[in-house]
């Protein structure tokens, strides 16, 4: 069946609604990559088998990520007519017990984390026996969040277009194709204030406008899903959890700029995202939501998937284009910008996954609604993957303008194990480290850049007292050195030289002149590199230099690592008074450096010790001390 009319679309929505609000218990298992890694596959299987065995008629659905990745595997259960109950850290056994309880007509309290009330339901919002549970939106992790990009993540089945349609999907496309001209569409996006969510924050409407006015024989829209920052996985999750939103966003963009072809450039390391976007494109094509005469409007649009071969530099738009054209993935000088001369020399818009996923929501609810979220010049929401040494990790979507403090201490719940947070690294390897003293800053493009970091695509790595900032800088520089394409001298040679100097520093072999040279090289690479990768590669060095110069000085002048991280500068010893002689460290030590009789204090042979930290991490008494 093809969806050609409003009535067809309403029919599709009715089908989806019957699934979302099923008359059977609906059990959703979060099966994005984060959930799968935590064991959601086994939980899904156990629930399915238990339901079959007990003859319980349930609707078992594999959804995407609900955001609280730390609580995975997450399962949510909706009894007919009631709200959803979210179960965290599920196990296959708990899944079996869940089915047993459901068979008895009860919702178990075990593993239950929160409830999501059903709007307009006549029943009490918290099911019987679960009245102690908080509402999901009242959990500290969710309290300040606002979901636009992730509106459907973890709620709909990413393999069913009817569920997407029932969740207000295709409202925007219908409005655009039947009621707005391409220019009016562009104006709507411009008015919304949406800026590119890939990191640089270029106004999306302006980019579309430039492209639509540039001369060419064809135009293209490319979805950049070549996400590669260490610790960042927002784009992957959107593709895995809500691929139709990206497709709808691309179709609207295609209509606005006059493109009939779109491409999703996705890294090959994301097999599940590739599978889901492929499936979604195929399904949309079968229903006529892609292809000729979409919704009877006469507009034709198709989407292909191009898989990247794992080069970080392809996140840079000109390198991405060269790669798509079959060339070596290296950037080229701009101007000309892709909006004027892009893929195959034709005007091309390249938008990030999250930018495109925002489009349908903006068009459906109106530019003014979106412009009212966030702060002046920073409209809307951003998605961060909050990771590192923070109590609550996961995918967070919040309005721009939220302060770093609200993000890290509010949503993130502060440091891990109650430790003091020292800094946060935003923007991945291209970003910088912002110290805790600046956590009053709002999260927006200008503030982060002023503080020496960038918004970036949304990586947010929290660091505490046990993080060495020199070691962090070295880690990111090693990454950019390996990922530099090698085309231009500053990026290729400069990152290598910075890694060499930083290595000398963490090994205690540097002299004070090295610090000046390091800064000189960092400023050169930033100022003289050809593309964004090189121009931002020194940020981790420059920002740690700016805020944590004392740590560099300690390494160089005192041969000391204050965080106790740099192997060459630390010594491990066991405090005899605290050691109970349990022998855990002795068994854990892979080089046999620890000796001691049972129940007697152990000791570490410094000559043999590889300083791997294993004893420190395993000791239940905290008896292993690091001399820093």
């Amino acid at each position: 069946m093809k969806i050609r009319t409003h009535a067809d679309l309403e029919g599709l929505r009715a089908e989806g609604d019957a699934l979302l609000h099923s008359a059977r218990p609906r059990i959703c298992v979060g099966m994005a990559t984060c959930g799968m890694a935590a064991g959601a596959g086994a939980v899904f299987k156990a629930i399915g088998e238990a339901a079959t065995a007990s003859g319980l008629d349930v609707m078992l659905v594999s959804t995407g990520c609900i955001g609280c990745c730390q609580q995975e595997p997450v399962v949510d259960v909706r009894m007919p007519g009631q709200g959803r109950v979210v179960y965290a850290r599920m196990t296959p056994e708990a899944g079996e017990r869940l089915i047993a309880a459901l068979s008895a007509g009860e919702l178990p309290a075990e593993h239950a984390m929160a409830v999501i009330p059903e709007p307009g339901s006549a029943l009490p919002e918290k099911p019987q026996g679960l009245s102690h549970l908080p509402r999901m939106e009242d959990l500290p992790f969710y309290k300040k969040q606002q979901k636009i990009i992730l509106r459907n993540s973890g709620r709909i089945d990413p393999r069913r277009v009817e569920e997407y349609a029932a969740a207000e999907g295709y409202t925007a496309l219908e409005r655009v194709l039947l009621h707005l001209s391409p220019q009016e569409t562009i104006d709507e996006i411009t008015r919304s204030g949406l800026r590119g969510r890939g990191g640089a924050g270029f106004p999306t409407g302006k980019k579309w406008d430039l492209c639509s006015r540039a001369p060419g024989t064809a135009r293209y829209i490319i979805c950049n899903a070549d996400e590669g920052d260490p610790g960042a996985y927002m784009d992957r999750t959107v593709l895995e959890s809500d691929p139709y939103a990206v497709i709808e966003g691309m179709t609207i963009a295609g209509y606005a700029i006059g493109a009939s072809e779109g491409y999703v450039y996705v890294r090959n390391e994301y097999p599940l995202a590739i599978e889901r976007i492929h499936h979604a494109i195929e399904q949309a094509g079968e229903l006529g939501l892609l292809g000729d005469n979409i919704l009877g409007s006469g507009f034709t649009f198709s989407i292909d998937v191009v898989r990247g071969a794992g080069a970080f530099v392809c996140g840079e738009e000109t390198a991405l284009i060269t790669s798509m054209e079959g060339g070596l993935s290296e950037p080229r000088p701009r101007p000309p910008y892709p909006a004027v001369k892009g893929l195959w020399g034709q005007p091309t818009v390249i938008n990030n996954v999250k930018t495109l996923a925002s489009i349908p929501a903006i068009v459906a609810k109106g530019a003014d609604w979106y412009a009212g979220i966030g702060t002046e010049g920073n409209a809307g929401t951003v998605v961060f993957s909050l990771v590192g040494k923070v109590a609550n990790t996961g995918l967070v979507e919040a309005p721009l303008g939220l302060t770093l403090d609200e993000m890290i201490h509010g949503i993130g719940g502060g440091g891990l194990d109650g430790r003091q947070v020292k800094a946060v690294q935003t923007g991945g390897p291209s970003g910088g480290c912002i110290p805790a003293s600046l956590f009053h800053l709002p999260i927006d493009y200008a503030s982060l850049s002023h503080a020496g970091s960038i918004m970036g695509s949304g990586g947010m790595v929290v660091m505490d007292e046990e993080t060495c900032m020199v070691d962090v800088a070295l880690y990111f520089l090693r990454f950019t050195m390996a990922e530099s394409c090698g085309k231009c001298t500053p990026c290729r040679e400069g990152t290598r030289q910075m890694v060499e100097i930083l290595t000398r520093i963490v090994e205690g072999k540097a002299d004070p002149g090295d610090l000046d040279l390091l800064e000189e090289v960092a400023l050169w690479v930033k100022g003289a590199s050809l593309c964004g990768l090189g121009q931002t590669a020194p940020n981790p060095v420059l920002s740690t230099f700016r805020y944590f110069r004392d740590e560099y000085d300690a390494h160089v002048n005192e041969r000391r690592c204050p965080a106790g991280v740099c192997r060459a500068l630390v010594r491990f010893a066991i405090a005899p008074g605290r050691c109970t002689g349990c022998g855990l460290c002795l068994r854990e030590c892979s080089v046999g450096a620890i000796t001691g009789e049972k129940k007697q204090p152990h000791r570490i042979d410094e000559a043999l010790c590889a300083r791997c930290r294993a004893c420190y991490d395993i000791c239940p008494e905290g008896a292993v001390e690091i001399a820093r």
Partner: protein, 256 residues
Amino acid sequence: MPTVTINGTSVTVPQGTLLLKAVEEAGITLPTLCHHDALSPYGACRLCMVLITAPRRALVASCAYPVEEDLAVETHSAEAVQARRLALEALMARCPRSHVIRNLAEREGVTTTRFGMPPSERADELCMLCGLCVRVCRDLIGAAAISFVGRGSERRVGAPFALQSDACIGCGACAEVCPTGAIRMEDRGDQRILHAWNTRIPLARCPGCGRFFTPAPTRFLKDMFPEMEAIWDVCPACRQERTARQWATEHPLIIQ
């Protein structure tokens, strides 16, 4: 035609002129290794950095920057000089034995490098990855026999899998454009050897004098020049002799 101010002096150049050329027009020579007039802008070596002061302030590679009206440039601002010097220092550390790089560096006032030297097995490195060989082979010759391999500081140039290239026609354009002499090419007996690409190309023998004189794969050019049919197979010396003899036969009176 846009007028550009270079170090305070106005120069008028045709639309689309690259800034590097406009700067040369003003009598200033900037170091450059990756630029070639016959190839499109590439902007890789970053030796020709200059500071634009208007219409906005930016450090740019002049070889990849087309001039615009009212552009003002400082070629010897502190930022630009520093960028050129550091690039030269870095290249000196990469190719410690390159005279070309050392001479360019000396002209910019750099005599030593503060950077770590390459490991001993790379001490003879002369290639600084300007990519001229790759681009001339692909964009002008159309053979695309060589390309970049690896990335970052592991990047180098070579034929696929470092094996004998079956796309190379032995024209030697790569060796010709290489600014640092990193590509060694040698004609030995009936073979042309391109040491850098691990490739040997058979040479064609002149039926006139019996000498080997041109790479055999270039013979496809014959179809492109039908007027040279009669003299195609012979070497330049024999070709000269034959042409002269033919001319003399056709113009006997003049000879007398």
